[in-house]
Symmetry: C2
């Protein structure tokens, strides 16, 4: 079924209607050759960019259009959270097949508009083209006080290793999809984390405002891989205590799928939690929750440049990066 295709102008109108904007720091938004941003005094801007492609990042037959729009923006915005910044505006380039330009696109835009409102993001520009499959690329910008962005590179030996929320939930949702269980209503809550991830914006900003985190990343690829990024950037190693991991609880009915909660927590991608390090002397100032999101100390940073897990029996083993790499098959 091929929907009648709008002209580019009409398409832009359909987009614009869903994303009203007005912001003093955005004198020019959609509709000119480029957007114009007016940074405040003493502000740094953080910028991240992220592709979201049919058959790589989502399966159109399985994932609702609203979720595709929501998640595309949520995962890019998670990088803003991981810098401790406040989201400001975003840009989107879209390649769109004829057949998706009607109802599907409306769903996609509705989901994205909901995410934008939730995260405090203004659509500032974009580019649309006809294409054989659905492809999108998001650029998201946020603002911090000057010099306050939290980088991957500040972890020091002795720092506590902390993570927000629960690990492995999004991967559990993915496994349900792969086993074609996603249509069963009772797993809706599990799928929710896979379809509608929640960037930890309040926590990120809180950590930046209180200068508590020495380094930070979001767990987009999986703990084992993302911890590797922090350690590489900081020139340190880490020990993760498996007993402390806030791992997903696997429902009894799913036990026979042979999934290990520990494996999901260590290697599952797309949780978009914050993984950060806190200097030991500041540990007392670390609350158990920020804005309802639990914080768990899962280990510590060490001098030796190895990433290891310490299990319940006191056994240390090397942790291999087992998360998502778009260019490697597991």
């Amino acid at each position: 079924m091929v929907a009648k295709m709008d002209s580019e102008e009409k398409l832009i109108e359909r987009v614009r209607r869903r994303f009203p904007f007005s912001a003093p720091w955005l004198p020019v938004g959609i509709g000119d050759d480029a957007a114009v941003l007016r940074p405040g005094r003493g502000a740094d801007w953080v910028v991240t960019t992220d592709a979201f492609l049919e058959n790589v990042h989502f399966l159109r037959k399985i994932q609702p259009a609203e979720s595709v729009g929501y998640k595309a923006l949520a995962r890019a915005t998670s990088d803003i959270a991981a810098m401790g910044a406040r989201p400001r505006c975003f840009f989107i380039t879209v390649g769109l097949p004829d057949a998706l330009s009607g109802k599907w696109l409306n769903g996609f835009l509705d989901g994205m508009a909901r995410a934008a409102r939730r995260f405090g993001l203004t659509l500032a520009g974009g580019d649309t083209t006809k294409y054989s499959s659905f492809i999108a690329s998001l650029t998201v910008m946020g603002e911090t006080k000057r010099g306050r962005a939290i980088l991957r590179s500040g972890a020091q030996p002795g720092d506590l290793l902390c993570v927000s929320g629960t690990l492995g939930e999004a991967e559990l949702g993915l496994r349900l999809i792969q086993r074609r269980r996603h249509w069963q209503k009772r797993w809706a809550e599990i799928l929710n984390k896979q379809f509608y991830p929640e960037p930890r914006l309040a926590l990120g900003k809180w950590l930046a405002a209180h200068r508590l985190a020495s380094s930070m990343i979001d767990t987009s690829d999986g703990l084992s891989t993302d911890l590797g990024h922090i350690c590489a950037a900081s020139g340190v190693g880490a020990i993760v205590r498996t007993a402390k991991l806030p791992a997903v609880r696997i429902p009894n009915e799913l036990q026979r799928l042979g999934l290990g909660a520990r494996d999901l927590a260590l290697n599952g991608g797309e949780d978009y939690e914050l993984l950060f390090t806190v200097p030991k002397k500041l540990a007392a100032r670390l609350p158990r929750h920020v804005g309802g999101v639990p914080i768990t100390v899962i280990g510590e940073v060490v001098r030796e440049k190895k990433i290891r897990v310490l299990d319940e029996n006191g056994k240390l083993t090397d942790l291999r990066a087992g998360g998502w790499d778009p260019f490697l098959k597991k």
Copy 2:
């Protein structure tokens, strides 16, 4: 032939090597969750985003890999020129098939690195994914003095309508390709404008610095379409004098292809010249060239919201937008 695929990290290293950076306004570039930009006092930032897709924007069998990389960045940077801004940094998301990850990708990156050096752009971040076809999305950022960006919306009745360079050259190159003449060496110069367009950065900055242009756009879609954008945004009309058009010269040997220089100049896309308006009282300050690029007055802005051409015989006819629209077939 399928080349062995690098891990994402190795791929990023290959990219990074070609784009060395160091800039005081970019405390954090590639390698963290997001780049950190430190805007100068009294600066506005302009941001534009642009897709560049195999089989839509380029044909891989015909266009050299270097040109694909060069042109992808050049056309996005042309939007920065059209705001009168100075290019600063760019971000790229790439989807890449296995088979292109070797020599072809090197060519692409070399072409893009050449463009980046030429335009003064620093690579500040990006995202890479495996994909079935080659797709890229560019985000380019530039800087202007506060309030000095030249918008589409400032044209006033009575303003002179001006254009840089020659119109229709890129389209002539495209027609040669469509007619499979592109391999003939003697047309190399014509193809050059199609393969290696030159954003008019010096002219754009000059116009912004001298506050001469009341509105501006780059001719990416073709004069008739791009002039429509200026008129719509400014709430005005325009008259184009065909006798004044700096139209491409069609070589004698190509006359029998049945191409009209006037049609190419009015409707041909991808010239990436600057189309701008100048208040009549400032006309005397408009030079004939800026940085070697000729400027031609081709008409004027009028109150009546119509776009018309005035031909050599004094006949006025409506000008239909005949340029490129990614969602309409001509």
